[in-house]
């Protein structure tokens, strides 16, 4: 047990607030400007996704899992496909795997650029936020070309990928032109950020998360890697075996490290994309030779853009979903951030929370915690008890 400090007051922020955008609530317990403790309430986007999936045909699951999150729609689609593919032992053609990796890395870059946009917005730096959103447009376009939709490209399907997402030569050329152009601009952008002393004075040394804490709270993904924890599930995934890329690990663990880590990771993504364009094998893109049927409980871990993502489910004999579970990176990342923002100024604390790239639509699943009564509370009960003051 940590010793509880004397706290003067509480400042609560959200769920409608410029720094958050998504609905969640940050409660900061502060003395003057210094944050002594922090609590993040994340249940405002609860849609009961796991329950919706119960009893749906497995192909339909893709539609819903994709809508877990609009930023990394692809990781959810892909991972829910992987679960079924692993459980039913469906072979995926190589070409399909390559294209899945391609769209995933494209979306990873887009997601990291949202992170920059969000972080700079929280820093109050509108111009750079806009620059990163402008850079991001390249990848939104590419997603629209490949998948037909800017947000939900919906590329993987069970057994392979959707025919529309097959890469033609002209599309390949477009992609490589765009990313070459992007890389030039992006390099300048990153150099410019790192040279800006005002921004760096806000980032450096703030929001420290030690390696021990990162591991203890299971802050996976870029946050853990920025704290010196070399953990990237991509290195374990067979889909990524053909590609040569480095896992970026930094040791500082502060906000600057979290920004720089992602900035460097984008270059690795570009590297992977180039390899795909060069080595894309010929062949079929989808294996339709499977039937949905009984599947035992299967788990699949995946490196989402913000950390470790777990999907798991079982199918009954008709191929309907039973017991779907999603464990996304943000809950554990946020727990780490609750820890990391202690001791900083309020404005910095919010930056720290933003720097873990929180994204709550995926993680908000458990709703009511019932302290003392054994009966479950209804919506009205809660409203009556806690809703208005």
């Amino acid at each position: 047990m940590m010793e509880r400090k004397v706290v003067e007051k509480e400042i609560s922020i959200g769920p409608v607030h410029p720094a958050l955008i998504e609905p969640y609530r940050i409660r900061l317990f502060v003395n003057d400007e210094i944050v002594e403790d922090c609590e993040i309430n994340i249940n405002m986007a609860y849609r009961g996704i796991e329950r919706l999936l119960e009893g749906l045909p497995v192909e339909k699951a893709l539609l819903i899992t994709e809508r877990v999150c609009g930023i990394c729609s692809n990781v959810h689609t892909w991972n829910s496909v992987r679960v079924v593919e692993a459980g039913l032992r469906i072979e995926v053609p190589d070409r399909a795997n390559y294209i899945r990796v391609l769209i995933n890395e494209i979306q990873r870059i887009a997601s990291h650029l949202i992170f920059f946009g969000h972080a700079f917005e929280v820093l109050g730096h509108e111009t750079f936020a806009m620059r990163s959103f402008l850079l991001r447009e390249v990848f939104m376009d590419l997603m629209a070309y490949i998948g037909g939709n800017r947000v939900m490209p919906a590329v993987p399907v069970i057994g392979g990928i959707r025919p529309r997402a097959d890469l033609t030569d002209s599309l390949k050329r477009v992609i490589s032109e765009r990313i070459n152009d992007f890389e030039k601009k992006y390099r300048e952008y990153v150099e410019r950020i790192l040279a800006d002393s005002m921004i760096m004075s806000r980032l450096t040394g703030v929001g420290l998360l030690s390696k021990e804490d990162a591991i203890k709270y299971h802050a996976t993904g870029p946050n853990g890697r920025a704290s010196g924890w070399n953990y990237d599930i991509r290195t374990l995934m067979h889909e990524y075996e053909p590609f040569d890329f480095e896992v970026i690990v930094l040791n500082e663990g502060d906000n600057k490290a979290r920004v720089v880590q992602r900035a460097l990771e984008v270059f690795e993504c570009l590297k992977i994309i180039r390899q795909i364009l060069k080595n894309l094998p010929e062949g079929p893109i989808v294996n339709r030779d499977w039937i949905p049927g009984k599947m035992n409980y299967t788990i699949s871990y995946f490196e989402a853009f913000r950390g470790e993502l777990m999907h798991s489910c079982a199918l009954d004999s008709q191929g309907l979903i039973r017991g779907y579970k999603i464990r996304t990176p943000t809950p554990t990342n946020l727990a780490a951030m609750e820890r990391a923002c202690v001791g900083d100024h309020i404005t910095d604390a919010i930056l720290t929370i933003a720097s873990c790239d929180p994204c709550l639509t995926c993680c908000t699943r458990v709703e009511v915690i019932n302290f003392d009564e054994s009966k479950t509370m209804t919506v009205m009960d809660i409203m009556k008890k806690y809703g208005r003051r």
Binding site: E59, L63, T77, G148, V157, R162, R192, A195
Partner: protein, 160 residues
């Protein structure tokens, strides 16, 4: 120090030019024109030239978002079969569940022949007659379902 200075000077120069001469402007004028004339094209949802007018999608939509609109000039697709109506999707009611897409025998809604899960009308690489010549591969239940949902002459057309 030197790189910092270089970045700064470069930045000053570039932004000065940006302010004075509006260079580097990234705003899309095309979109601007469309928005100002309120003419952003709506989502493309139905491939009219692919649809055989069977009406199955209308029956299967859970939110009744689809209505079949009679064509002014019916088109003869294959000898003996004429397309008289095409579906129109009311996007206000549509929930993108893609049931219609799944049931459409030739996937003329929301995209190309993917088993499921498409979002946007794709670019069809085949013409309708080519598609109709290909025997469709589907599990027996789906075929039963199709038989119930679409008129028998169309059914014969696609079952050839």
């Amino acid at each position: 120090m030197i790189p910092l200075l270089r970045v700064m000077l470069q930045g000053i120069y570039r932004n000065f030019i940006r302010i004075i001469a509006k260079v580097d402007r990234a705003t899309s004028i095309e979109i601007r024109d469309k928005v100002l004339t309120l003419s952003v094209p709506a989502w493309e949802t139905v491939l009219d030239e692919m649809c055989i007018g069977c009406g199955g999608c209308e029956k299967v939509c859970p939110t009744k978002a689809i209505t079949m609109v009679p064509l002014e000039k019916p088109v003869e697709i294959i000898e003996g079969y004429r397309r008289e109506k095409v579906p129109r999707i009311d996007l206000m009611k549509c929930v993108f569940c893609l049931n219609c897409h799944d049931f459409c025998p030739i996937f003329a809604l929301f995209g190309e022949a993917a088993p499921i899960h498409a979002r946007d009308v794709g670019s069809p690489k085949m013409t309708l007659s080519e598609i109709l010549k290909k025997p469709i591969k589907a599990p027996p239940e789906k075929i039963e379902e199709l038989r119930k949902l679409i008129p028998s002459e169309f059914f014969k057309a696609i079952r050839r």
